[in-house]
């Protein structure tokens, strides 16, 4: 491989795999598409390994529009983990729902490519293109179960609101270009130093934040989340909840810390308010949900609030712990959605709380797995969720945001109520009506095993990964 392309190796691997899957899709067998999943999985895992090998290397490509640094590598790894786990979960899931198509795997790979591009983008135009690549793929994926009204609704809603957000984003880019004459992040940073109070630049920056706010689903741009999470196929929901969120944070953090560093006091204040609103609203509304996918949707909003606490705290510890939390959150959330995806009642997916009544007595292993993922979302030691929250809140305490942390921990206590309610159903209630059964899926179980390993590895031995995360944010903070 020519040296100039080395920094792009993970991206190229995913892109090449996507192209390969498109070709293979045209060849027989026409009925079964399971082999495409395997190819896609191999590609994503190869990209993950390539990213790991590139740790510590710095490089740029395409005239500085793409960058490779430890920050990009760390997020590439998070995204590849998310994509790989989602692919594992998808295999049998699609077949069971009669929706096994080659397009699914192609779109997952393209969405993954878009996410990784966001992590490696060093130019607003590239961020925009990556965002579109990711979003368009996800819009289609959300509507994959075209026979289901909810799936179509999810796709439509996601698309319309996403298009709005993109509009804001592009407008923001235009204003910033107008103010600074460039779209390259580092040159904007250089220009922004002299234009700190320039209204054009500030408005442009604000519009960018609207676009990002939509992608990471922070209040007040969260309205799409519950419907999309509920309606989309569960494997796609898992990808939206983890991969696209990680990608959104990747670009957001890069823009905030390396480009708009001079405005840090302003946006810190803004994000502080957003963080409080996001976690409080997410947690409070989650209490009222009886559909697990909707509940996890609101809880994912709340978790964005926690991560914003780390952004507000700033510094290597604060931003590093956001990256760490993204990894933790990926394992935990994919795991939780994975259990939901494996369970069905009658011919339906088991998404209502009632479907989980008495699950522990009949399927103790799956119930235990879901309980552990939920405990990690609560933040109970010794799961990864505790380590993640500990670092996030620790960073905020160090930066002096005690009140913010108090609000955040009280939010965690509120959240315990609705997460544990699922445990109550599984362990403390008697089953009624049709039994809930798990689908016999080896790949699905493998995905859950990997996610559980992540939840405990990061919970018991978090320090090495946190050190990596802190090293990863160093390029942003210098």
């Amino acid at each position: 491989m020519p040296g100039a392309l080395v920094p792009l190796a993970p991206l190229l691997l995913v892109a090449a795999t996507a192209a390969l899957v498109i070709l293979l899709d045209l060849l027989p067998p026409r009925e079964r598409k399971g082999h495409l999943a395997v190819v896609a999985l191999v590609g994503v895992v190869a990209a993950l390994l390539a990213a790991l090998l590139l740790w510590g290397r710095e490089g740029r490509a395409f005239g500085g529009m793409l960058v490779l640094d430890n920050f990009a590598v760390f997020l590439d790894v998070v995204i590849c983990y998310a994509a790989a786990l989602v692919l594992l979960l998808s295999m049998d899931y699609l077949r069971r729902n009669g929706m096994e198509t080659g397009e699914y795997y192609i779109l997952v790979l393209l969405a993954t490519l878009g996410m990784m591009l966001m992590a490696q983008a060093a130019d607003l135009i590239v961020i925009f293109l990556a965002l579109e690549l990711m979003s368009l793929s996800l819009y289609v994926l959300a509507g994959l179960f075209r026979g289901r009204l909810t799936s179509a609704e999810a796709s439509m809603k996601y698309f319309l609101l996403g298009a709005f957000a993109t509009g804001f984003f592009v407008y923001g880019i235009a204003l910033i270009y107008g103010a600074t004459g460039t779209t390259a992040l580092d040159r904007i940073a250089a220009a922004a130093g002299g234009l700190q109070r320039d209204p054009l630049l500030l408005i442009g920056f604000g519009l960018l934040l609207v676009g990002f706010g939509f992608k990471i689903s922070s209040v007040p741009f969260h309205m799409w989340v519950p419907d999309v999470y509920e309606g989309a196929p569960t494997s796609v929901t898992a990808l939206i909840a983890t991969g696209s969120k990680a990608a959104g944070f990747a670009a957001l953090l890069r823009v905030l810390f390396s480009t708009f560093k001079v405005n840090q006091p302003d946006w810190t204040l803004l994000l502080l308010v957003v963080a409080v609103l996001t976690m409080t609203l997410g947690n409070v509304i989650a209490i009222a949900q009886s559909n697990l996918k909707r509940m996890l949707a609101y809880s994912s909003i709340a978790h964005v609030g926690y991560m914003l606490v780390g952004v507000v705290a700033g510094g290597a510890l604060g931003v590093g712990s956001v990256l760490f939390y993204l990894l933790v959150y990926t394992f935990t959330t994919v795991g939780a959605f994975g259990v939901i995806l494996l369970l069905e009642r009658g011919r339906q997916e088991a998404v209502e709380l009632d479907d989980y009544a008495g699950l522990a007595a009949r399927h103790p292993v799956l119930a235990l797995a879901l309980a552990l993922f939920l405990l990690s979302l609560v933040g109970m030691p010794p799961t990864a969720g505790f380590a993640g929250k500990f670092y996030l809140f620790g960073a905020a305490v160090r930066s002096g945001y005690i009140w913010l942390v108090i609000i955040a921990v009280l939010n965690s206590a509120v959240a315990a109520y609705y997460y544990l309610r699922v445990v109550v159903y599984m362990y403390m209630r008697e089953p009624a009506g049709l039994p809930t059964r798990p689908a016999p899926s080896f790949a699905g179980r493998l995905a859950l095993a990997v996610a559980l390993w992540g939840v405990f590895q990061l919970g018991v031995m978090p320090a090495p990964v946190l050190d990596l995360a802190q090293a990863a944010v160093a390029p942003l903070l210098r």
Binding site: P364, P382, G394, V397, V409, M428, A463, L466
Partner: protein
């Protein structure tokens, strides 16, 4: 002393739980025996701690220290002193008995129950042996889940409500403590340059006045909920009434002690000035708890609720003793923690025995039991007397020392004349305890047999004797000759008082 005995004691139950998880389903008897033997083995190993403990030294003994997250100054640091030793032993002593007591009561999901109980034991032991705030917090939180499951899965009719209430109350308190732990960590780090969660190191640091109050309050609320101190006690009656007998025994016997232990281990040495400043308030809450708990106990129609409210009263005594900051008061408080674990644990066991036979706990459903089950009634009498503090039994020793400590505090230089009200009002709690316990006993065991269902009751079985006799042994032993127990704590208590006083004196603007 290089063998990691503390780790062995702490993690032996987890090991047992893992093995039980691998045992075949449906072999309930095997699971029960194995879990019981694991708990007995844990107790046996913990006796090594007693044997090897140097009572003359106030240092942390059997230390173990391994770096865990060095970049954060977090280490796996274990050690016990005279304060924690007795609580560790109490935990390992009560756990096998609780398991044994549930052989008949728990018929459903025996395997899961045994695993949960053993995990709970590890969590509790971990809280008492941790000398690193991070490690302590991990155990403190991790222990909530097994207790939550024990109440929620194997509890009574309103178990789900009780379980959720229990976990939300305690979780709210403990997350605030987490913020305080982090704040302390960074404050200490910024002031001294050493970032560490190590308790002995942090205890050497004098937290500046303003923030000390806030940190103290955050810790104190977490502990007050756990104790529970009035007005944070409302989760307790629900949890106790709904929990299965084994859960109630552990809850009353050990879990509540974590709150009082926390005051002693963390609040006093870390925030001495704030602790002293809050003494009047803590005394007020303790006294309200003592009197209120006793009064409410009197009118309970349900035996378990009566014992639950009596815990509020008794734990009020313990907190009172600890905050007198006199040697007698603190030693008395520690002994009373053990006593309460034994007496209340035994009361719950005996109520559980009655419940297994009659499936009711209402006092009105009993009467004249002395005529049908004399052995039970006799033991019940001893346990009730121990709980109300009859001289010669264990409760008296603790309460007496606490009251001596309270009088010593009231006659101290810093106390106002009205301070004598504190021991006087506390003493009234003992009188009320006699009222509610003896009246309860009278209605349950004396008089005519009012209900035909009580005529055919079977007296204690061999297993029940095996559960109760060890407790009775210690009830009498501590009552007659408390020296082997008090002697273990005195050096550590003295060191704690000295540390508090020197830190108060060293502080700028200290008294």
């Amino acid at each position: 002393m290089r063998e990691p005995i503390l780790s062995a004691v702490t993690f032996l139950p987890v090991l047992g739980a893992v093995v039980i998880a691998l045992l075949p389903r449906g072999r309930a008897a095997l699971v029960r025996w194995f879990a019981f033997l694991v708990a007995v083995a844990t107790f046996a190993v913990s006796l090594l701690l007693y044997a090897g403990f140097d009572a003359a030294s106030a240092d942390y003994q059997f230390p173990e220290r391994l770096p865990w997250m060095p970049s954060f100054g977090i280490s796996y640091h274990l050690g016990i002193d005279g304060i924690s030793l007795l609580l560790v032993l109490l935990t390992t002593f009560l756990s096998p008995l609780a398991l044994l007591s549930s052989w008949r009561a728990v018929q459903d999901r025996v395997k899961e129950f045994s695993i949960t109980m053993l995990l709970l034991e590890t969590g509790m032991l971990g809280v008492f042996v941790s000398l690193d705030l991070f490690l302590f917090y991990i155990f403190w939180e991790a222990m909530l889940i097994p207790m939550y499951l024990i109440i929620g899965v194997w509890g009574g009719p309103a178990r789900i409500y009780a379980a959720i209430k229990f976990i939300l109350y305690t979780l709210t308190g403990s997350v605030l403590m987490l913020v305080a732990i982090l704040a302390l960590y960074f404050q200490h780090g910024a002031a001294t340059g050493t970032y560490t969660f190590d308790l002995p190191v942090l205890a050497g640091y004098v937290v500046p006045g303003g923030s000390q109050v806030w940190l103290f309050l955050a810790f104190a609320v977490a502990f007050a909920i756990k104790v529970p101190l009035f007005p944070f006690h409302t989760w307790l009656p629900d949890a106790h009434v709904e929990a299965p007998t084994a859960g109630s025994v552990i809850l009353a016997g050990v879990l509540l002690k974590m709150g009082t232990y926390g005051f002693l281990r963390f609040c006093l040495p870390l925030f001495p000035q704030a602790s002293l400043a809050f003494v009047p308030w803590i005394f007020l809450l303790s006294l309200v708890g003592i009197v209120y708990g006793a009064w409410v106990s009197m009118v309970q129609p349900d035996l378990k609720k009566l014992v639950a409210y009596s815990s509020v009263s008794h734990l009020g005594f313990v907190v009172l003793g600890l905050f007198t900051l006199t040697p007698q008061g603190i030693v008395g408080g520690i002994i009373q923690m053990v006593n309460h674990g034994l007496s209340t644990g035994a009361l719950f066991l005996m109520v559980g025995i009655l419940y297994e036979r009659r499936h009711t706990r209402l006092i009105a459903d009993f009467g004249g039991l002395w005529k049908t089950i004399p052995a039970f009634s006799a033991l019940f009498m001893i346990v009730s007397l121990s709980s109300l503090g009859l001289p010669g039994l264990n409760g008296f020793v603790g309460e007496f020392l606490i009251l001596v400590g309270a009088f010593a505090w009231a006659s101290g230089p810093s106390a106002a004349p009205a301070a004598y009200l504190v021991p006087v009002l506390a003493t009234s709690g003992i009188v009320f305890a006699a009222v509610y316990l003896l009246w309860m006993y009278q209605r349950v065991c004396f008089g005519e047999i009012t209900s035909e269902a009580n005529r055919g009751l079977a007296d204690l079985t061999g297993r029940e004797w095996a559960v109760l006799l060890p407790v009775l042994l210690f009830i009498v032993w501590i009552g007659v000759y408390p020296r082997p127990f008090t002697g273990m704590t005195e050096a550590s208590v003295q060191a704690l008082i000295t540390q508090v006083q020197s830190k108060v004196a060293a502080a700028p603007g200290g008294r």
